[in-house]
Subunit: 344 residues, 2 copies
Amino acid sequence: MDRTARRTENRYGNRPTMKDVAARAGVGLKTVSRVVNGEPGVTPDTERRVQEAIAALGFRRNDSARVLRKGRTASIGLVLEDLADPFYGPLSRAVEEVARAHGALLINGSSAEDPDREQELVLALCARRVDGLVVIPAGDDHRYLEPEIAAGVATVFVDRPAGRIDADVVLSDSFGGARDGVAHLIAGGHRRIGFIGDQPRIHTAAERLRGYRAAMEDAGIPVDERWMSLGVTDPERVRRAAEEMLKGQEPVTAIFAGNNRVTVTVVRVLAELDRRVALVGFDDIELGDLLQPGVTVVAQDAAQLGRTAAERLFRQLDGATLLPERIELPTRLIQRGSGELPPA
Amino acid sequence: MDRTARRTENRYGNRPTMKDVAARAGVGLKTVSRVVNGEPGVTPDTERRVQEAIAALGFRRNDSARVLRKGRTASIGLVLEDLADPFYGPLSRAVEEVARAHGALLINGSSAEDPDREQELVLALCARRVDGLVVIPAGDDHRYLEPEIAAGVATVFVDRPAGRIDADVVLSDSFGGARDGVAHLIAGGHRRIGFIGDQPRIHTAAERLRGYRAAMEDAGIPVDERWMSLGVTDPERVRRAAEEMLKGQEPVTAIFAGNNRVTVTVVRVLAELDRRVALVGFDDIELGDLLQPGVTVVAQDAAQLGRTAAERLFRQLDGATLLPERIELPTRLIQRGSGELPPA
DNA sequence: CCCGCATCTGACAACGTTGTCCAGGCCCTA
DNA sequence: TAGGGCCTGGACAACGTTGTCAGATGCGGG
């Protein structure tokens, strides 16, 4: 009772502090600190008394104060587009595992592909003094991060490079993956191949488009602009785009889908068709092997992207002064049937 | 240069503080604080000078210090099993959105279904003084949280109830959902129905098993223990369990799968079979409608679970003294074909 | 011209922890 | 037994911010 009365003001709902523990154990404040942090120089007997007091009061160290004193928060921030996207779940988990191995917690936020929101999130994380940031950028200008990086916030970009600043980036080989995927279709005899992808302002989308064009050019096939649909990912518009390129005198006989969301919708459209149209998608999709036909994809390893980025981040934090680097991970073509269908 | 020299010790890599800003703007410390926080009582001219100094130095408020002073961190913790699981992505995102609407950041951690790791994570979050916790429990004894809750940490459990303490919980109607799913199979003429689920120590798994038994009992069908496989989720063992109940003189003609991972594996097993076996799964799976046949599921709304829990959390934080409550969300049977196959 | 009041500003303490440093007690050696 | 070194414990300042309160300034009215 009297404790409650005495400490009514405490904003953490009457949480005991080291001072309280010290008073109860009849020792000095710093001795409690030593016990809590396992520092040497405390007799077993004293330690026992302190531990008892800690247990009795339900004391838990306030890491906010600790952080203020020590300067490291042991937390890192992850800003991605949408945690609900199956591509980012494994990535996030991988970052978390690496963080955990380094004793750090992970704070994450979804930018919803909005550059302003990305910036807002990143700066909020900086205000929390996260030790480092893993960012899947939505915007294309990251100069706002310059003071932060100069101030020592380790930063690694993932999936897409940073805009207008020089920073580490870990990405998949979108260009090569797309080129290989399209080349695979060409090797199967296709010549009229559609491409449905995201807005080219998104780096990965632009790279995949470039891969598509490169494969076509390598094969000497001129690209008809009607075969391409850019900046389209919501199901309704993907559907229309696909239907558009599938009709008329010279419909495409194969489609290359620029990401997992597009692929899924295209699969639906093709399922309703009475003729067989080939499909290769970028990003693996769950159960892709069980569909009829199985969905051929250019797979990237989301977890590996996250792991690589996080490891790079902690290498920065461990004091290595590294020059900004671009790490590109290979993609893998997985043949499951849809990409091996011959032209109609 | 001289600034660098002067503040070399600063552990945040020479980050300017309000004191630096004040010195540069030629005003008092508190005036800077007022400007930064948009408090009234600052002349436009003074404000301008301060803003200039802030911009020139690249100052960013240190929220750690702020938290220490104010007692609220504006962050909440989310502990779940595995962020890479497609069930938790949307849930996490929903929690994040609610947090964002309340100006809070989300720290999350994966327990990997390990009670010790869950406790470790939760206590680490408490040490950071998160304002609240959303927990998908792995363990079944949460008395370790009592001092925290007493100290004012808002807490809501999701998907499974807390163990040995009284706390808010938001869950899906696992029992009802499973009962309805199995009843649906029975209505389709099945009598030998298999059940493959997780360990019954996990609440949802136990409830779904109970639903299965209830449906069977309601229909007056005695359950053969060989039709049940508990504590099995990894693909290899699910596969064996399914194959086991599908062979012999009296094989099951339908399977009820206890969660999304089980469902996926069972789909694979059934795809290899030459006869048609009915399947109903708990949890929706992506592309379930595109498989042949479509996968009938008892769907729960992960995002709604997360949203409901987070909203409850913030109601606690807004000061409402609420009695611990159990909120149960309904499930929905989605018929897509696999659950409507007749007995062989 | 001075007083009172409103407005703006700044000095200071406090938040809970950790780093520094010194005091006191003990044991060992000369 | 005196002196020196080691071990344990505690007082105090500092981290960067915000709340409190009082001082300074300006203005209008008596």
